[in-house]
């Protein structure tokens, strides 16, 4: 177990390096800078000064090595757009917002998705199952920007229950629409997997034994079937995270949430390449850590799994 964790941890560094190298060279091969599109073209001398300030006139290998060294010390360099804040400062300011929103969305997805999937499996092939399947397909098929804008139209504009945008922390009413919009995707994934894996364990011997003991249907599902059915659900954690990040790109922008996903989208349209590069690195690290945690959690959920 310890060697497995160590080996997996050792893999994180080279994987990150590959991601970093690829992104670095793609970003640096991308022509143009934010100064190109300014309405009054800058004098050539000013451009050269700017390039010197950002070390853009160094040879590429030196820029690469410098950036890597600084990134290891937590310094992701200056942002092109933002004068007063460095990339690291932008990341530290915006990441917590997105993490809160992401965790709330996943919590919502778990609380809604797993019971919905369980209900559909227990009431298999009844109208409850069909309604649950429809909800699931809607959650999986609709993109987040459709979900969030329709939620705003219905909940904010038509019914007037919630604000139309903004962010005042996760415990404010403004957090509800973004959480719903992002969380509906993972909720649908959880529901689908819970349903199919519950149906799969349904006919197995240990369920028949539990039934033979005289346990109630509820106890069988909750205490016996669920425990086994949830293992495949954990495997989709990676998909869930991707879903949450992708959802946040749109939801944070449309609803005006000052999170890191919005910074990412803004860095693309503003050609703020250092910010873009820094945020891709943060996402890569996040994804790798979550994948590692997921792989390790199998051992707790299913004692038959051995790590080698």
């Amino acid at each position: 177990m310890t060697t497995y964790v160590l080996r997996r941890l050792l893999w994180v560094a080279p994987s990150l390096l590959i991601v970093f190298t690829l992104t670095f060279f793609v970003v640096h091969a991308t022509p143009g800078s934010p100064w190109d599109e300014s309405e009054k073209p800058l004098p050539e001398a000013v451009k050269q000064n700017l390039a010197r300030q950002y070390h853009l006139d160094d040879p590429l290998y030196k820029q690469y090595a410098d950036y890597l060294g600084n990134a290891l010390r937590g310094d992701l360099g200056p942002s092109y757009r933002s004068v007063e804040r460095s990339v690291s400062e932008i990341v530290t300011a915006t990441l917590p917002v997105s993490v809160q929103l992401g965790l709330a969305s996943i919590l919502f997805a778990l609380v809604i998705g797993i019971p919905l999937g369980a209900l559909a499996a227990v009431k298999h092939n009844t109208w409850i199952d069909y309604v649950a399947s429809l909800v699931t397909v809607i959650g999986i098929a609709t993109p987040p920007f459709v979900r969030v804008s329709l939620l705003i139209v219905v909940l904010s504009l038509a019914l007037g229950w919630l604000p139309t945008g903004g962010w005042e922390g996760i415990f404010d009413a403004r957090a509800i629409i973004p959480t719903l919009a992002i969380g509906l995707g993972p909720a649908a994934i959880f529901a689908r997997y819970t349903r199919s894996s519950l149906l799969e364990v349904h006919g197995q011997d240990f369920i028949r034994t539990a039934r033979a003991k005289g346990l109630s249907e509820l106890a069988i599902v909750v205490a016996h079937a669920m425990k086994n059915a949830l293992i495949p659900v954990v495997t989709v954690a990676g998909v869930t995270l991707a879903n949450v990040i992708t959802g946040a790109f749109f939801v944070e922008r449309i609803y005006g949430v000052p999170g890191i996903a919005r910074q990412f989208v803004d860095s693309v349209s503003g050609r703020d390449y250092p910010l873009l590069l820094g945020i891709v690195l943060v996402f890569a690290l996040l994804i790798m850590v979550v994948n590692l945690l997921v792989d390790l959690s199998y051992g707790f959920l299913d004692p038959r799994i051995r790590y080698r």
């Binding site: 143009g32 098929a141 329709l150 990040i245």
Partner: protein, 325 residues
């Protein structure tokens, strides 16, 4: 028949007894029959066929040109002259949605072509040849799949946009000109092409790994079939069903990705009426004129839902092993 384990469970015992001399049916006929029994899939298929016709005959169906402005009729609600209303430049929403279907379906078509032209051959080669081919293809797939595909697509399309805006060299100039003529669609195709083949390549490789150990491949080899013949005549037909299912499920993802990119201003450029652009414009005016958002958002959502239902139906019809009911 040998296919009893896989394809029989839908027939009730009574039906089997009632038709003991029924002609043996092939996989495709069976699949079609099962699909036709799935109401959600049939309704979705009808919707998609209608959508294809709308896209093909857009110019005949759309009541107005998609870019025709009428500055005396801006932001109108739905009415007899403008069924879905007009936008802030007085352009007919319905006509823009009708023309927009061309963009979405072109993306769907190209996505399927990339899956067939790149994903299937690479998966086939990786599974069949193994060794370094397998390592190379599958490690690439693993690395690219480890990240949210939209993240990769956005990084790549940012690069493409910048390169194609000021193309250097004759090749890039041609690509850039094509991209400009298609309103930015070519860039979207390239960026989506990078990620759309991944899952199918992995799927085909998995299938081939188990299929190539089967007796019929051994038999084919014994009678002197070449590698090429084994792959195209023996392995490929046996992986066709899962490929069709996976390709169908890939379509809504690609359509949503194009709409999302266009929504962010990275995909198709105005005035080309991508549904993503219509939704972005709708979001801008939703506080005053919510119908300008609700119509395109609903059409996109319904289209994606239908492709998903069709994919579900095809999976149940074609791939009995994945069937749970």
């Amino acid at each position: 028949m040998t296919n009893a384990e896989g394809y029989a469970p839908f027939a009730s015992p009574k039906a089997v007894l009632a038709a003991p001399l029924r002609r043996p049916t092939g996989l495709w006929r069976d699949a079609w029959r099962r699909l036709a029994r799935n109401r959600a899939a049939v309704v979705s298929l009808v919707y998609i066929v209608v959508l294809v016709f709308v896209a093909l005959f857009a110019s005949a169906i759309a009541p107005y040109a998609f870019q025709a402005q009428d500055l005396e009729a801006t932001d109108l609600g739905p009415s007899a002259t403008h069924l879905f209303g007009t936008d802030n430049l007085g352009r007919d929403e319905l006509s823009r949605l009708v023309y927009g279907s061309r963009i979405s379906l072109a993306v769907a078509l190209v996505d399927v072509l990339i899956v067939l032209a790149v994903g299937v051959p690479l998966g086939l080669a990786a599974g069949f040849f193994g060794r370094w081919v397998d390592t190379l293809v599958m490690r690439t797939v693993d690395v690219l799949l480890a990240f949210p595909s939209l993240l990769l697509v956005i990084v790549v399309i940012t690069y493409l946009r910048a390169v194609l805006d000021q193309p250097e060299g004759p090749l890039l100039a041609v690509v850039g000109a094509l991209d400009g003529a298609t309103g930015g669609l070519l860039g979207v195709f390239i960026a989506l092409g990078l990620v759309s083949w991944l899952t199918v390549a992995r799927l085909v490789r998995g299938q081939v790994l188990s299929l190539k150990e089967k007796e019929f491949v051994e038999a084919a080899r014994m009678v002197g079939a070449t590698n090429r013949r084994i792959m195209t005549r023996h392995l490929l037909p046996n992986t066709l069903a899962p490929i069709i299912v996976a390709a169908t499920f890939g379509i809504p993802g690609a359509i949503a990705a194009e709409a999302g990119l266009s929504f962010l201003g990275l995909g198709v450029r105005p005035p080309f009426p991508s549904w993503g652009i219509l939704i972005a414009e709708g979001v801008r005016t939703m506080r005053a004129f919510p119908h300008e958002l609700v119509f395109p958002a609903s059409v996109l959502a319904i289209t994606l839902i239908c492709f998903n239902f069709l994919g579900d139906g095809l999976r149940d019809a074609l791939d009995p092993r994945l069937k749970l009911d």
